[in-house]
Symmetry: C2
Subunit: 513 residues, 2 copies
């Protein structure tokens, strides 16, 4: 295998205090790309998009709804504020962002070996986010539960190719809406030791996430370090609303990271064209990131972009088409020019099941995601049906593709062993290489080994029951869950987390929203 | 639809003479890429591979087996010939190729509107090639027949996203081995009007192909123009054998094009490493292309590369892995530096059926194929099971992906309409774009429309019978074949072709090889 499998050691404050032995879990480090990103626009084209974004910010501006404090921040910074509409002098948002936003940051995991760097040449894969439904081959499609949620946290923990535990890996609809964030954040903290995302559905739930992080990591550590990265969506076109602003403020004040993400279904939330969607995305993201920097200069912030095309017949979002891929490449380049980390892409698809449509569409999203130089990849595994469903088999198949990307971005080995010139010079024409010393010395690591592909002969495949990819993936996730062992945690910390959750749950009635 | 659908007119010598009206068939021109190719090696890395290829050619050399005339050609050109082993002074092959091989050429179709340019910024998609088996959802996997062959020629003719009819789209095993090339070439000529490939299984069959082309296009036209492009595989490592050399000679002497292709299953036919496989591929291809240029300076020749990884457990070829993608990017760059058209890639997979594995693997091959700047893409549609099987449903699904690539390579529209700035400036925050004048003016062409993806709601999809991608594709190819009308042909030419075939068939007994 070409993946660098490292054996996990327990570590960190929690880990160091955990004495008991723990089975090693395979882990592949987050990606460090050695290849230059693929570019679809030159300097002139990118400058044009930036110019248009500034024109939008200046002439139309953005609305910051239901958050008077945000308006005050912008007014004091020099923006033109009329009601909830904020218009920005040309270049103002860019200057605010560039003055204090870090170009990259470390998101610490409770196991320090699982910490990730967001930005620069790095790419971090996280599971899909936000699906109300889950699907597996056995039960079909159904509402997600807290058990499903924990299963996906465990699968991401066990998958060597996912570097991040994600956030709302599915909606646990069996837990009251106003309490489920506590169970979700706890699952990320307890069932995994990878970095995770926090709740954003109300500012209070964001504060609960920060409070739990302080219990897990210690107050001082959280003050000085980023241990949460959370997803803040714009209400496109050109609106940031109070819920999201409140959650972003809660995290920024605690020095925690946010991903300021225009969510663009082009044709509905933006014009249908690539250059139009990109300019609007940049304008919205700049406003959101400037807000974060005004709340707390230096708080880590990621430029997010989620762009899909749509069926102009039905209005349904479509994925894996060429247009969103072009938007992604443009936005990645714009984020590099701005000097902030970039989030986009994933394994997106419209397909209801993990079939060829799902795979083609996912690949047509993941390739640009990686080749464009995306830093944080939400939705890297499990996404089905435009994000409505989290698929168990899809998760396994996608994670395998993430593994291949990890090998690809390392590029071509030009070492003497990589060149293999001696092997060729000492091999006669017509003589195969299966037994050559060079092959024997390298075959273990020569090629990526998929854990889901069937490369056997047709006859062998028939004998094995003619299993297609989802059938094989179904066995993989069941085997993984059966093998799961929780990573160690300090019992005192675990108890404190449980106490906090119990007190918070007892403090309010169950609510459905 | 973003595809530029052009209405076919009948044309060409044959077409002009055909008087009867003919239904218009949708056609999308071959790709003209506007984006710079993705590069995985810099100047220094590429020079190193070139240097190693020259070292291989100089120190080990190539064997040209069973073809004394080839040895004489090389000896006269200054190579060191010992038995069948030919060693080349450093740079010799490159100089021969660069002295006379065209950097691009037009392959003429009998319908001039279907002619394609091979080389430069262009990409031409052709069906898969060489499968003994075919598969469809109804009948499963079975040996291919001449009826299957004709079906795939018709499907490629009807598919707007395939620009070339290909060659052995499947083996028609119900026709004697020594006669089937006549039926295959005739099907390409009669059932389609797109450009096609010729027979290479013996030099005589190549000559039959040229003779038939002379009947179809006229002797003078064939003398002065390229109307056939054929696939010549090396017997890697480092061997060209007499059958392939003889076929290549037959085409080159007739001024027809050949694709000189090392066929590398890395680990068996080359070292396991990317840089090793690339250096060997370049060495073999340089020798093959130099041979063609010595036979007839100026005959069009394409640098071919087929590289797959392998399962080091079973020895089976594996596809869609990162390593062959890296080889492809390297070889595409090397062909550009050499100044000849490049052939590689396609929609390759090891999967037995058109499932998620097939799609992931195919996409992981087709993306590098297009982003790397490949000029001629054999195996763009239909490939299953490492090339053993041509799939009807896979063909339809792959062709749809080819269509998306055609849109992607055009890049970002930065026209005023593409920027859509006015539309954004005249839209209020929070107001959707579904009814905006810009959307209404552009929605027909805004996004690629897949003819195989289901983007409907889950409920609608359920109501439609929960069809997965192959089930929908099954309907598409049946609908296409039901709608097929043969393109018009001059009856005199058709009769002459049939006469030629009848005479050739009568001249020899049926043979099984």
């Amino acid at each position: 295998m070409t993946e660098e499998i490292v054996t996990r050691r327990t570590g960190g404050r929690a880990g160091r205090q955990a004495a008991r032995a723990h089975a090693a879990v395979a882990r592949v480090p987050f990606l460090t790309r050695t290849l230059k990103p693929f570019e679809v626009l030159d300097e002139e084209g990118l400058s044009l998009i930036e110019h248009n974004a500034d024109t939008i910010l200046q002439e139309v501006g953005l609305e910051f709804r239901g958050d008077p404090a945000a308006l005050t921040l912008f007014r004091n910074a020099g923006a033109d504020v009329q009601g909830e509409r904020v218009r920005f002098p040309r270049g103002m948002c860019r200057q605010i962002v560039q003055a204090s936003a870090p170009s990259s940051y470390v998101q610490h995991a409770r196991n320090p070996e699982q910490s990730v760097t967001m930005g620069g040449p790095h790419t971090v894969f996280a599971p899909a986010y936000g699906s109300p439904f889950v699907r597996d081959l056995d039960g079909g499609r159904r509402y997600g539960t807290i058990e499903d949620f924990r299963n996906f946290v465990k699968l991401a923990y066990l998958s060597p190719h996912l570097h991040h535990s994600g956030g709302t890996v599915c909606e646990p609809v069996d837990v009251p809406v106003n309490k489920r964030h506590l169970d979700m954040v706890y699952s990320h903290m307890r069932d995994s030791d990878k970095p995770f995302m926090g709740s954003v559905t109300t500012p209070e739930r964001a504060l609960d996430t920060v409070a739990m992080a302080r219990i897990l990591f210690g107050e001082a550590f959280v003050r000085d370090n980023t241990v949460i990265t959370s997803l803040i969506n714009a209400n496109s076109p050109l609106v940031w609303d109070s819920t999201m602003l409140g959650a972003a403020r809660a995290y920024a004040e605690a020095n925690q990271a946010t991903i300021m993400t225009p969510f663009i279904l082009a044709g509905a939330m933006s014009p249908v064209t690539v250059a139009g969607a990109a300019a609007q995305t940049l304008a919205e993201a700049l406003g959101g990131m400037a807000f974060v920097q005004l709340v707390r200069p230096g708080a880590p912030v990621i430029l997010g972009s989620f762009a899909s095309s749509m069926s102009m017949q039905s209005g349904a979002p479509t994925f894996g088409t060429p247009e969103p891929a072009l938007v992604l490449y443009v936005m990645a380049a714009l984020a590099r020019r701005l000097g902030v980390p970039f989030r986009s892409g994933g394994s997106l698809c419209a397909s209801k099941v993990a079939d060829a449509q799902a795979a083609y569409e996912s690949a047509a999203t993941l390739q640009p995601t990686v080749l464009g130089g995306t830093n944080f990849v939400l939705h890297a595994a499990g996404w089905l049906e435009g994000g409505l469903t989290m698929g168990y088999e899809k998760f396994i198949l996608d994670a395998d593709q993430c593994g291949m990307m990890g090998v690809f971005v390392r590029g071509v080995d030009l070492s003497e062993n990589g060149q293999a010139l001696d092997a060729i010079l000492h091999n006669e024409p017509g003589q195969h290489y299966l037994g050559s010393a060079h092959t024997l010395a390298n075959f273990e690591t020569a090629f990526y080994r998929s854990d889901t592909a069937d490369n056997n002969s047709f006859e062998q495949w028939l004998e094995d029951g003619s299993q297609d990819a989802p059938v094989r993936a179904n066995k993989v996730w069941k085997r993984m869950l059966a093998s799961y062992e929780a990573p160690p945690i300090d019992p005192g910390i675990d108890e404190a987390l449980r106490d906090f959750i119990a007190r918070r749950k007892a403090s309010m009635p169950d609510l459905a929203s």
